[in-house]
């Protein structure tokens, strides 16, 4: 009944598992380390506020940041109302065939490669609707890509706001609309915002869809019908088409990653707050 020397297979598994994790963490450290190493020199205010010079090898990324923000704004303008309405519809009004159909089609859309969305956006917005390469086209295409994620997180946020409150509100003679406005949506709002942050994160990381819809132009956009270059596209261009553009590419990548980390931090914080709010003391 006394301790025996560990069996060979046990030791092997332990070793394997530790090695695997160390490898993964090591790779991550390598990647992030490289990013910081090569990019931090570009992290200064001038980089964020200047226009690109010498095809982007020098100067800054100001017009690109503006374009990115505008594209995001257009995308949000379309996603928020459509997404909220659909999520409300799915969670409140139906459990039937139409709702399931919507859910299934959104699931499929969520897995569609971004390049296919690029094709779609190009065909629909740039050509069919005649918007050409513009911030409008890019933003609307991004909205199509953000909708599945936003709708599913919002719907699960609303569904998590349990039947207790729903039935309680009905028992008090409150209409559906009143219950939604006064109780359910506010209660679900941290989860909804977290979902929004996740969708924004996904949108910012998009490249392939934007190349064919909002284009490549790296000048400061003067209107939403101008073509504009998003940050991710800028990174692509600098690394593939501009020799010696690596330093700026790394700098831009670092800016992008930091922004994404901040956004995901907000999302996580909000989700935790949402979850803790649901715990009632008794």
């Amino acid at each position: 009944m006394f301790k025996q020397p560990a069996r060979y297979s046990d030791v092997m598994l332990t070793l394997l598992v530790w090695l695997a994790t160390l490898l993964v963490v090591g790779l991550f450290a390598w990647l992030v380390g490289d990013l910081i190493l090569h990019g931090y020199s570009k992290l200064n205010l001038a980089f964020l506020l200047d226009v690109p010079q010498n095809a982007g090898r020098e100067g800054g990324i100001a017009p690109i940041l503006v374009s990115t923000l505008l594209i995001l704004a257009v995308a949000l303008l379309a996603t928020l109302p459509l997404g909220l309405a659909t999520a409300v519809y799915l969670s409140e009004y139906t459990n039937g065939a139409l709702a399931n159909g919507i859910r299934m089609s959104l699931n499929i859309l969520a897995g569609v490669p971004s390049i296919v969305f690029g094709l779609f956006g190009n065909a629909l917005f740039c050509i069919w609707l005649g918007m050409g390469f513009s911030i409008w086209s890019g933003g609307l295409t991004l909205a199509c890509m953000m909708l599945p994620l936003f709708i599913s997180t919002t719907e699960s946020g609303l569904s998590a706001v349990t039947n207790e409150w729903r039935h309680g509100a009905a028992a008090l003679g409150l209409s559906h609309t009143a219950a939604l406005w006064q109780v359910l949506l506010p209660a679900a709002s941290p989860a909804i915002t977290a979902g929004l942050m996740l969708s924004i994160g996904r949108a910012l990381a998009e490249t392939a869809a934007l190349i064919f819809t909002s284009g490549y132009v790296d000048r400061m956009p003067t209107s939403l019908s101008d073509s504009g270059r998003a940050l991710s596209v800028h990174i692509y261009d600098l690394s593939m088409n501009v020799t010696g553009g690596d330093a700026s590419a790394y700098g831009s990548a670092l800016v992008l990653i930091i922004t994404l980390m901040v956004i995901s931090g907000i999302a996580v914080g909000l989700t935790n707050r949402f979850l803790s709010q649901r715990i009632t003391l008794s």
Binding site: V25, A85, P113, A205
Partner: protein, 291 residues
């Protein structure tokens, strides 16, 4: 006491309006998928009708200017890259999930998860950038040209690893404590519990994660475009430069016209069908798992 004539009271009217507004917006979203498929078919029509699609398989290579649209080399490249990536990412991801769940000291678990989530959030261009500037030269030292199938496999593996790790971790966490305690009570060692009880019970969730990873690998464009070399050829060795279907679309769209453009849209349509099939499979597994 509670009698009232047919009340056009505003609460009920507000409800009806809300239902109508949300309903119509939801319909708009519902048609989105249909719209995508419709547009893809419309734009690729030239290549699909009259047996045009046969050209995808029996042409002499990919020479669009000459009307040759052999997709096979790129198809093989796509499959090879995705499969290779999965072969690396699945075991690594699963093992780090097992580590996180059964071997890691407490303080490590949340940091590990955060690392994975950060990795999952890194945009593909950034992976591509790193691959291009670090990985490709490294491979080139071993065997030129460096921009190769191997680079694509490695980068893809890195990209889908977080997905596999996170979903495997969630699946392992869902294994009932009762099973684990039962196994421990039978005197099984940690390895025995992991291999004999936890992994089998978490199998469904892990498989779903694998399907999601496959989806991501197949659909990835930018990172692979940046590191794979983009030569249209059936890969003979991992060091050959290859072009995958997604990268092909990205590279040639800017100047494709007529049949060429239709061919690219057709490739997009094909990718969509593969993705739909995989999604449906993943959905079916979920259903079967809950039966």
């Amino acid at each position: 006491m509670i009698w009232s004539r047919h009340n056009t009271s505003s609460p009920l009217r507000a409800d009806a309006t809300l239902a109508r507004v949300t309903g119509s917006l939801a319909m708009a979203v519902a048609v989105l998928l249909g719209l995508v498929i419709l547009l893809l078919i419309r734009e690729s029509w030239g290549m699909l009708v009259d047996g045009g699609w046969v050209r995808f398989f029996d042409s002499e290579g990919w020479y669009p200017q000459r009307g040759q649209f052999d997709l096979l080399p790129m198809l093989w490249a796509t499959l090879a890259a995705s499969l290779g990536a999965l072969l690396i990412a699945l075991p690594l991801g699963m093992m780090s999930a097992v580590f996180s769940r059964f071997y890691a000291p407490g303080w490590m678990v949340s940091s590990l998860r955060r690392v994975m989530m950060l990795l999952a959030g890194i945009p593909s261009v950034v992976y591509g950038l790193w691959g291009l500037t670090v990985l490709v030269p490294l491979i080139a030292q071993w065997e030129p040209p460096g921009a190769s199938l191997l680079a694509a496999i490695l980068i893809l593996a890195l990209m889908v690893l977080p997905t596999v790790a996170l979903t495997s971790e969630a699946a392992l966490a869902a294994v009932s404590p009762a099973s684990l305690q039962g196994a421990a009570a039978l005197g099984l060692s940690r390895k025995g519990i992991v291999l004999g009880v936890a992994l089998p019970e978490a199998r469904a969730g892990i498989m779903t994660g694998a399907l999601l990873a496959a989806l991501r690998a197949l659909g990835e464009t930018m990172a692979v475009l940046m590191v794979a070399g983009n030569v249209v050829q059936t890969p003979g060795s991992v060091f050959d430069s290859v072009r995958v279907l997604t990268a092909n679309i990205a590279l040639e769209m800017p100047y494709a016209i007529g049949d060429h453009r239709a061919a690219l849209f057709a490739t997009g349509l094909m990718l969509m069908l593969i993705v739909t099939l995989l999604s449906w499979l993943a959905g079916r597994r979920e259903e079967l798992a809950h039966v």
